[in-house]
């Protein structure tokens, strides 16, 4: 299975789940942010919990990544100013549009025309950032991070 196909597959599942759970609806997000409805917080909390348990198990097993040649690593990052300013800017946009990048993409897929405006905005926002600062900050590009981690020899010696 190629990495691209896996990305597409996981994306499909994520997109359907976001639609199904109602998280792509601005009404649902807004009701949650106004504390009218606890659904989002409960759902979010349980998702984080499931992910945390999964990650903890994986870390314990010291598994290697299935698709790329790297030990599975989790490096907690220290909070810097950019995390707070970025999150504040993000929160401002999120509070106005009541949709974040995942749901925006889902809305476009569902054929919701308003979603296209927000989608275009996100593309412009990302473009402005990349233009301003060439090196990426998104840890999703973990290839260099993983390399750095191995160089430092952070992970404990594998027992397998």
């Amino acid at each position: 299975m190629s990495a691209r196909a896996a990305g597409l597959g996981v994306g499909l599942v994520f997109g359907v789940t976001l639609s199904w759970s109602g998280l792509a609806s601005p009404e649902v997000i807004r009701d949650a942010l106004l504390f009218k409805d606890s659904y989002l917080f409960l759902l979010f909390g349980s998702a984080v919990l499931v992910a945390a348990v999964g990650l903890a198990l994986m870390r314990r097993a010291e598994r290697r990544a299935l698709l790329v040649d790297a030990q599975i690593t989790c490096e907690p990052e220290r909070p810097a100013r950019r995390h707070l300013t970025g999150a504040a800017i993000f929160g401002l946009g999120w509070g106005i549009a009541d949709a974040c990048p995942g749901p925006i993409a889902v809305q476009v897929g569902q054929g919701i025309a308003w979603g296209l405006a927000t989608f275009t905005g996100v593309v412009i926002g990302v473009y402005l950032f990349v233009r301003r600062e060439e090196p990426e900050t998104e840890p999703a590009t973990d290839v260099p991070t993983a390399r750095r981690a191995r160089g430092r020899g952070t992970p404990a010696p594998s027992t397998r």
Partner: protein, 132 residues
Amino acid sequence: MRALFNARLGVTGGFSEVVGRVRAGQVGFDWRGWFLVGVILGGTVYALAAGGPLFHGYGWLTDTFHGDAQILIAPILLGAGVLIGFGAKLAGGCTSGNGLSGTAMLSPAALAATATFFGTAIVVSFLIEAVI
């Protein structure tokens, strides 16, 4: 995602990849771009299966602006999108990257970012509620 790629899953990463490639004039992108394509298609699959989109109108925006004034919604959403895209990149992730994947890792940066964006969005929502 960790298991597959040793990478943090996030939708902003997908946007980033696609924007980067298009900017470099390249065709095709890596798994993060395909992940974004998958999320979009996931919405399509759902709409087809459910017989239509999830909702009609657009929350408080279509409730507030009627008729000709609805033309204002597009620039508002566009502007919000710019803030979302730029902010997410600066913070190193959005709701899925920092909020889900990051907090699940108990990454202090992601926890701080998640608390901040939830807080800001809540304040903004209450402000909008107070104004409209």
